[in-house]
C-alpha cells in the first residue's frame, strides 16, 4: 500500500467525522430557537442606571439575605468603587463606577453606576455548559444551581459571558458555585433583597413582558436621557435583568453585544457531530470495512510478510 492511498483513506476517515460538524444544526435540535414569548412571564428586574447612586446598599442586602461571608472592607466604604470589581463570595451583586463622559472631576463629569449580577439569561451558557446539569433555567425565570449534583469543574465560569459565577477556591471539601438566585427564596411574597433595599428605587421587579413594555415607555418619554435599546432585551438571547442605560453599554463595561446565546455555536457543533449518532456509527462502519479488507488481503497473500 503506498502512501498516497493511505493519505486518501485517512482524509476520508477524518472527513467522516468532520462532515458532521459541517452540517448546519437545526435550531430546535440544539435546544435553541426559543420564541421570546416563552419568557414573557418570567420574573425579571428592570434596572435604571440613571437612578443608581452607587451606595452599595444592594450589595449589603444581598450579603445579608444570602447569609454570605463578611467582606474585609465594609459595605459603607465607597472608596472600593475606585477599582472595577466582580461578584465574589461576599456579595452576588456589585456596583461599579464608570465615567463615560470623561473622567476629569473639574469638568463636573458625572459618574454612571452599573449594577452587575447574574443576568438570568433566557438561554444561559452556564446551563448549556454544565456537565451534570447542576445549573438549570427554571420556568419562572431564575437560573438556579444545585450543589448536590455539581462536581466542581468550573466550566460554567468559562462559559458565562458575563463573568458571574463564583467558586470557593479556598474550600477543600465542599466548595460550591455561588451566584444570584433572583432571591427565589423571597419571591413571590417579598421582592428580591436588592430591589427592596434600593433607596433610589432604581429597580422594578415584575414579569419580563410587562417590564419590557414599561422600559420602552420610559425610553420613549425620555429619548434625550436613555439609549434607545434596553440592554438585555435581545442581548445574549435575552436576559431577565433589563438595563436602561444613559450611554452605550460598551462604555459601562458591558462588552457582551451579540444577540446569539453564548452556548448556541458549541451546541450546534456538538449536536451535528452526534446527530442521531450517524457520524460516529458511519465512521465505525467505515473503519470496520477498512480493517476487514486489510485482513482479507492478508489472508489472500498468505502472510507474504512485510509489505513495501
Amino acid at each position: 500500500m503506498d502512501r498516497r492511498k493511505f493519505l486518501k483513506n485517512a482524509a476520508v476517515t477524518g472527513g467522516a467525522v468532520i462532515a458532521g460538524s459541517m452540517i448546519p444544526g437545526e435550531a430546535h435540535a440544539s435546544g435553541h430557537g426559543h420564541d421570546p414569548a416563552e419568557f414573557e412571564n418570567n420574573y425579571a428586574v428592570l434596572y435604571d442606571a440613571t437612578k443608581c447612586i452607587g451606595c452599595r446598599i444592594c450589595e449589603l442586602a444581598c450579603n445579608m439575605t444570602n447569609d454570605l461571608d463578611k467582606p474585609d472592607i465594609d459595605f459603607k466604604d465607597l472608596r472600593v468603587l475606585a477599582k472595577k470589581r466582580r461578584t465574589d463570595e461576599t456579595t452576588h451583586t456589585v456596583i461599579n463606577r464608570f465615567y463615560p463622559y470623561g473622567d476629569d472631576a473639574r469638568m463636573n463629569h458625572k459618574p454612571v453606576f452599573l449594577k452587575q449580577q447574574c443576568m438570568h439569561c433566557n438561554e444561559p451558557a452556564c446551563v448549556s455548559a454544565c456537565i451534570v446539569g447542576a445549573l438549570r433555567k427554571t420556568p419562572e425565570g431564575p437560573v438556579l444551581y444545585d450543589e448536590s449534583a455539581c462536581i466542581g469543574c468550573r466550566y460554567c465560569m468559562i462559559a458565562c459571558p458575563f463573568q458571574i459565577p463564583v467558586f470557593e477556591f479556598d474550600e477543600p471539601l465542599f466548595p460550591v458555585i455561588q451566584k444570584c438566585t433572583l432571591c427565589i427564596h423571597r419571591i413571590p411574597d417579598k421582592l428580591p433583597a436588592c430591589v427592596e433595599a434600593c433607596p433610589q428605587e432604581a429597580m422594578t421587579f415584575g414579569r419580563r413582558g410587562d417590564l419590557l413594555k414599561l422600559g420602552h415607555g420610559i425610553i420613549e418619554q425620555n429619548t434625550d436621557i436613555y439609549e434607545t435599546e434596553i440592554y438585555g432585551e435581545h442581548t445574549a438571547g435575552g436576559t431577565s435583568w433589563l438595563y436602561l442605560l444613559p450611554v452605550p453599554p460598551v462604555k459601562l463595561g458591558l462588552l457582551v453585544q451579540s444577540d446569539v446565546p453564548a452556548g448556541q455555536l458549541s451546541e450546534t457543533i456538538q449536536h451535528s457531530v452526534f446527530k442521531y449518532f450517524i457520524p460516529p456509527v458511519a465512521l465505525y462502519i467505515f473503519l470496520f470495512l477498512m480493517m476487514f479488507r486489510s485482513s482479507r488481503m492478508d489472508n489472500k497473500s498468505n502472510h507474504e510478510g512485510e509489505e513495501e
Binding site: 500500500m1 468532520i18 435546544g31 477543600p172 466548595p175 463595561g253 465505525y284 512485510e306
Partner: protein, 435 residues
C-alpha cells in the same frame, strides 16, 4: 490480528531492573506531586494554585489534561495504521503507542480528580440521572472514560501473552495468583480466542475500531470545549473550526510521539534505533502536519484574525511560539535527511510535540482573557511541580511496563546488555494488576 503478533520481549529478561538512580529521582518528583495533592485536599485549591474567579482553569487543565490527551493520540493513530489499515510491520510500535496512550489517559483523569472542586462526586457524569447532552465537557468525559477502558482492553493481550499460565505474584499478593490467572484466562478467551465467524476476527478487533472512533470524537470535542467561551477567548484561537483543528493536530502528532517514545526506548535500553520503520512512519508526518498547518492558516485568514498578530499582547507571542515550532517541525520532517537520522528525527518529533502541547495550553489557558480583568494568570510553583510530577509518573510507569511486559522489539542490541542473572521465572514479576 493475532496472527501478526510481532517478535517482542520484555526488558526484565535482558537484565534490566526497575529501580535505577534515575527512577529514584523521578519517584522524588512524584512525592513532591503527592505533596501538592495533599495540600489541595486539606487546604483547598487556592492554597496551591493561582486560580481565582477570573481564571477558573489553569495548567492542570491546559497541560495535565488537554496536552496529555493530545499526546495520547499516539495510541489510536498507531492502532489505526497497524491494525485497521493493516500495516502490521508497525505492530511493535503500536504496542508502545497503546502503553503510552494508556498512561496519558490514566494520569489526565487523575489530575482532573485533584482539580475538581467536589472530586468525591466525580462519578456523576457516568449515570444517566446527571447526563447533560448539551455539555461538550460531558461528551469529552464520557469518551475519555470509555477510551481509557478500551486502552486497558487493548493492553490486556500483552499481559496475557507473557503471564497467562505463569502468574506468580510476590508475597503477599501471591494469594491472588489463582484469581489473576482466571482473570487472564477469561480475558484471553473473550478478546482473542473467540473468532467471530465469517469475518474471522477476534473480538479485540472491534475494540480497536471503537478506540479510534472514540478518539476522533473526544479529540475534536476538546476543541469545541472552548468555543462556548466566545469572545473571552483570544481571536487568534477562537474559531468554530477548533474541533477540526484539534482533530487534525491529534492525527498529526501521533506519529511524532511514537517516534519520540521509540527513540528514547532504544537509547535507554541499548538498542539500535529502528530507523527503517521510524523513517517510514516519518514519511507520513509532513503531510499530516502540512494539512494541519494549512487549515490553521486558512482559518486564521478567513476569520481575519491575523490582524491580532500586529497588536502587542502576551497571546501574540504564545501564538508565534506555537506556530513557529510547528513550522520548524514541518520543515524538518520535509527533509529526507532528517527522517533518516535518529538525532534529527528526535528533534523534529520533539518540536512537533511541544508545538501541539503549546497549542492545547494556549487554547485552554493562555488565550482565555476575560474582558475587564487586569491581572494575568501565571501558574504557581506548586501547580508547576504537580505537572512535573505527573509527567514523571508517566515515565516511571512506562519504564515499569517496558521492563515487565513485552512491548519492545526483539534484537537490535548494540551495547552489551546487563548480565541477566538466572532467576526463577517471575520471582518479582507482576501481572495485570487488575485484580
Amino acid at each position: 490480528m493475532s496472527n501478526h503478533e510481532p517478535q517482542v520481549e520484555r526488558m526484565y529478561d535482558k537484565g534490566y531492573r526497575f529501580f535505577t538512580p534515575g527512577t529514584w529521582v523521578l519517584i522524588g518528583l512524584i512525592m513532591i506531586c503527592a505533596g501538592v495533592a495533599f495540600g489541595r485536599f486539606f487546604f483547598g485549591l487556592s492554597a496551591v494554585t493561582n486560580l481565582d474567579n477570573d481564571y477558573p482553569w489553569g495548567i492542570w487543565k491546559g497541560i495535565n489534561i488537554a496536552t496529555f490527551i493530545v499526546l495520547g493520540a499516539a495510541g489510536f493513530t498507531m492502532a489505526f495504521i497497524a491494525h485497521i489499515y493493516g500495516h502490521h510491520k508497525y505492530s511493535t510500535l503500536s504496542r508502545q503507542g497503546v502503553v503510552f496512550g494508556l498512561l496519558c489517559y490514566t494520569f489526565a483523569p487523575i489530575s482532573l480528580l485533584i482539580d475538581l472542586g467536589r472530586y468525591w462526586l466525580f462519578w456523576h457524569p457516568i449515570f444517566p440521572r446527571w447526563w447533560q447532552g448539551n455539555s461538550v465537557l460531558f461528551e469529552v468525559a464520557i469518551c475519555v472514560m470509555l477510551y481509557l477502558t478500551v486502552l486497558l482492553i487493548e493492553f490486556m493481550p500483552f499481559v496475557i501473552e507473557k503471564y497467562k499460565g505463569k502468574v506468580a505474584w510476590f508475597w503477599p499478593l501471591s494469594m491472588f495468583n489463582r484469581l489473576t490467572e482466571w482473570f487472564l484466562w477469561i480475558a484471553d478467551f473473550i478478546l482473542l480466542k473467540i473468532n467471530i465467524p465469517i469475518i474471522r476476527m477476534p473480538l479485540l478487533a472491534f475494540f480497536v475500531i471503537l478506540g479510534v472512533v472514540l478518539s476522533c470524537l473526544h479529540q475534536s470535542s476538546l476543541g469545541t470545549l472552548m468555543v462556548i467561551a466566545g469572545e473571552k477567548l483570544h481571536p487568534l484561537w477562537q474559531s468554530p473550526m477548533l474541533p477540526l483543528l484539534f482533530l487534525m493536530s491529534a492525527f498529526a502528532v501521533g506519529f511524532p510521539v511514537l517516534i519520540f517514545v521509540s527513540l528514547i526506548n532504544s537509547y535507554s535500553f541499548g538498542k539500535k534505533p529502528e530507523m527503517k520503520i521510524l523513517s517510514q512512519l516519518a514519511n507520513y508526518t509532513p503531510w499530516l502536519l502540512g494539512i494541519y498547518f494549512i487549515l490553521k492558516m486558512y482559518d486564521l485568514n478567513y476569520r481575519g484574525a491575523n490582524v491580532y498578530l500586529y497588536e502587542p499582547s502576551i497571546q501574540k507571542w504564545a501564538w508565534l511560539l506555537e506556530v513557529g515550532l510547528l513550522v520548524l517541525a514541518l520543515l524538518m520532517f520535509m527533509l529526507p535527511k532528517v527522517r533518516k537520522t535518529p538525532n534529527w528525527l528526535f528533534m523534529a518529533s520533539t518540536f512537533a510535540m511541544v508545538s501541539m502541547a503549546a497549542n492545547r495550553q494556549n487554547v485552554l489557558v493562555t488565550a482565555y482573557r476575560p474582558p475587564g480583568v487586569e491581572h494575568v494568570y501565571v501558574p504557581s510553583t506548586a501547580e508547576f511541580f504537580f505537572t512535573v510530577g505527573l509527567i514523571a509518573s508517566i515515565i516511571v510507569f512506562y519504564r515499569f511496563i517496558v521492563i515487565y511486559v513485552p512491548i519492545m522489539k526483539k534484537g537490535g542490541d548494540i551495547k552489551p546488555q546487563p548480565e541477566a542473572e538466572p532467576q526463577p521465572e517471575m520471582a518479582a514479576s507482576t501481572a495485570g494488576g487488575a485484580e
